[in-house]
Symmetry: none
Subunit: 201 residues, 4 copies
DNA sequence: TATGAATGAGAGTTCATTCAT
DNA sequence: CATGAATGAACTCTCATTCAT
């Protein structure tokens, strides 16, 4: 019987989005656990109470914010650049483009992504959400790869390995403020390796 | 001027370790943020107050527990199995052994490791601790690899890539309860890839 | 960056004052150290949490309560009776009126005044507050005396001595439940002495 | 049936006194409420537990410490200097000597005296103790004065007024770090006033 | 819809007191 | 007698959630 209002009016919709955006901002800045609903409301420029009109509770707000963020990610990246490539595109260039997309996402959503990754180990629902998004993304990639790769044997395993490498490269790049690495070299090597993995050779 | 007791009696040392172990257990089970000091004390079979004799506050207990856990990791693995190999050992076998060590660690410390990874994004001190442990481990591995690899060019970048792959494999394995992957295949491919990365070819 | 709410709604202002009044009541009854914030909230008929909306912490509540009480003292006494006297008023009558004001204050604020006096020896901020209020009051009195006294030599020393006598008389009166003294005599003698001190003879 | 050990052995007596001295030291430094039993034991160089062999509880320790301190006061001052004066001594010199004794006591026991004064408003037993000591002291003074003063009318009231003045002078001197007063003048005026009070003129 | 004041359960922390050694 | 580890009640403070306006 509990209900959260479905915003019909435009103003209402605005308030909800302001809350979601504020939530993401604050989670990214201070982490979920250190962020209070009061702070989110303040950041959104609305009152505390109103948050509970749109979100059942604090966790619902979190989940909604994650959903919202992941939508943004999809909107922004959406693999346009990738989709635009046709079958004749050079394969290396393809990987390079994909990697650039990954880097872009990490640049934009670094903090919230990290926080999210941390949260999944604490909360079952977050874990499920995260797993679902990851899976969707991966299936999407795998699907795309099918067109490029002649050898479909163990394509899923190869794809996971490949994407892991891309992910890991981005991760290192974002968190390496104390590590002495030559990232131009690492980037090249990453792409090389991805290609080897995918070409099965 | 604040002080945490240095255990004088043997009983005292026992209590401290019971608390550390209990802390790790609880963090692994419910995560740091959902674990109260009361719960840790209960798990350790001691009273609440005593925890504050040995740890300045909740976070100090966390940091101490991490230190304690990382010591355990080093004690358990300590790369004995790796050290015992001489130069004649087959390289592939070497990688396989290393990977098995990684898997072993992940098996034992999966939950706390995940939690730790999550916490670094929230707390500066945890981040520093994690970075330090990671770096130490990596430098150790790089050092070991030097003996095996003829080509030292970009050895750091190669090493990071290689270890990332091993890490990622373990990660996938531990978190794949909803993903349909053939892990024996993935494992072989991971090792293959690591070898390619390290051999520079 | 910490903030205590500035009352926006009228209700809010009421609550804040209820807390201050309750605080003074409880401090007077049981002393600061034996009074919990819970008790103050209960006495005020509000919840615990709200106290922390208006006061940063327990001590801030204390300081605010002292400020509030001292304001009350000023409001109540404010030396109206004294101000109303003109230069022709008999000097002895003047002293008598001042003393009655002192007695009045002590009657009303005996307990909290005692408690306050005790607290200054424990807490630096309270000490400063107390010193400031005392100084202000004394400067006020000295200023008033200037009009009456022809001889301004050592007027500050005389004033302090005089006020000390008045204070001490009140103090004895309030705390003499076990001492056998004739207070009508003591009162007369106190006034006599004050006059002698001030008249420099 | 509760009992605190009556120290028979010399060592025992030493421990008890060390605790009492430490208690006074700590109360004077940080005030009673901010002083823990642990700290007192540490200051005394003994263990926490032992304190409860000699004192029923924390308050008993306080009361015992006050008793101990007041004994010290009596021992130190004991009015030797005063007793040594014979009837021919100049009266002004007598008052001066008494005041010097008061100043001496205040110098030595300033902090604990202040703390004690504060505590009486919180605790009934402390109040009683303080009242008793004050009364004893005062009766002693009154007794002494009888020899000097020809006019015994209202001698008690005069004595209280006189001693109040002396007390107040010391108090001002000790707490005047922010007040601009000429204490040599104030001292003379205090003695003058005391004499006037006592001589009834 | 929206505000922001109010609630109250629950967490972290302290410390007087007890107890095993 | 003495030690210092251990207990646990009590207190301060926070914040998700509700409610009066």
């Amino acid at each position: 019987m509990e209900k959260t209002a479905k915003p019909i009016q435009a103003r209402s919709q605005k308030t909800k989005e302001k809350l979601l955006t504020a939530a993401i901002t604050m989670y990214a800045k201070n982490g979920y656990h250190s962020t209070t609903v009061d702070e989110i409301a303040a950041e959104a420029g609305v009152s505390t109470g109103i948050a509970y009109r749109y979100f059942r509770n604090k966790k619902d707000l979190l989940l909604s914010a994650l959903e919202f963020a992941s939508k943004s990610v999809r909107d922004i990246v959406s693999l346009d650049s990738i989709d635009s490539m046709d079958d004749n595109t050079d394969f290396r260039k393809y990987i390079d483009t994909v990697l650039r997309s990954f880097e872009d996402i990490h640049d934009r959503f670094h903090d919230i992504h990290e926080e999210l990754e941390g949260l999944q180990h604490t909360d079952e629902d977050v874990r499920k959400f995260y797993a679902k998004v990851s899976r969707d993304m991966m299936e999407n990639v795998i699907d795309k790869l099918s067109h490029f790769l002649p050898d479909h044997a163990n394509i899923r395993e190869k794809a996971y390995l490949a994407v892991s490498l891309l992910e890991q490269y981005c991760h290192l790049k974002m968190n390496s403020y104390q590590i002495n690495l030559d990232f131009s070299v690492l980037r090249e090597k990453t792409i090389d390796t991805v290609m080897m993995v995918l070409n099965g050779h």
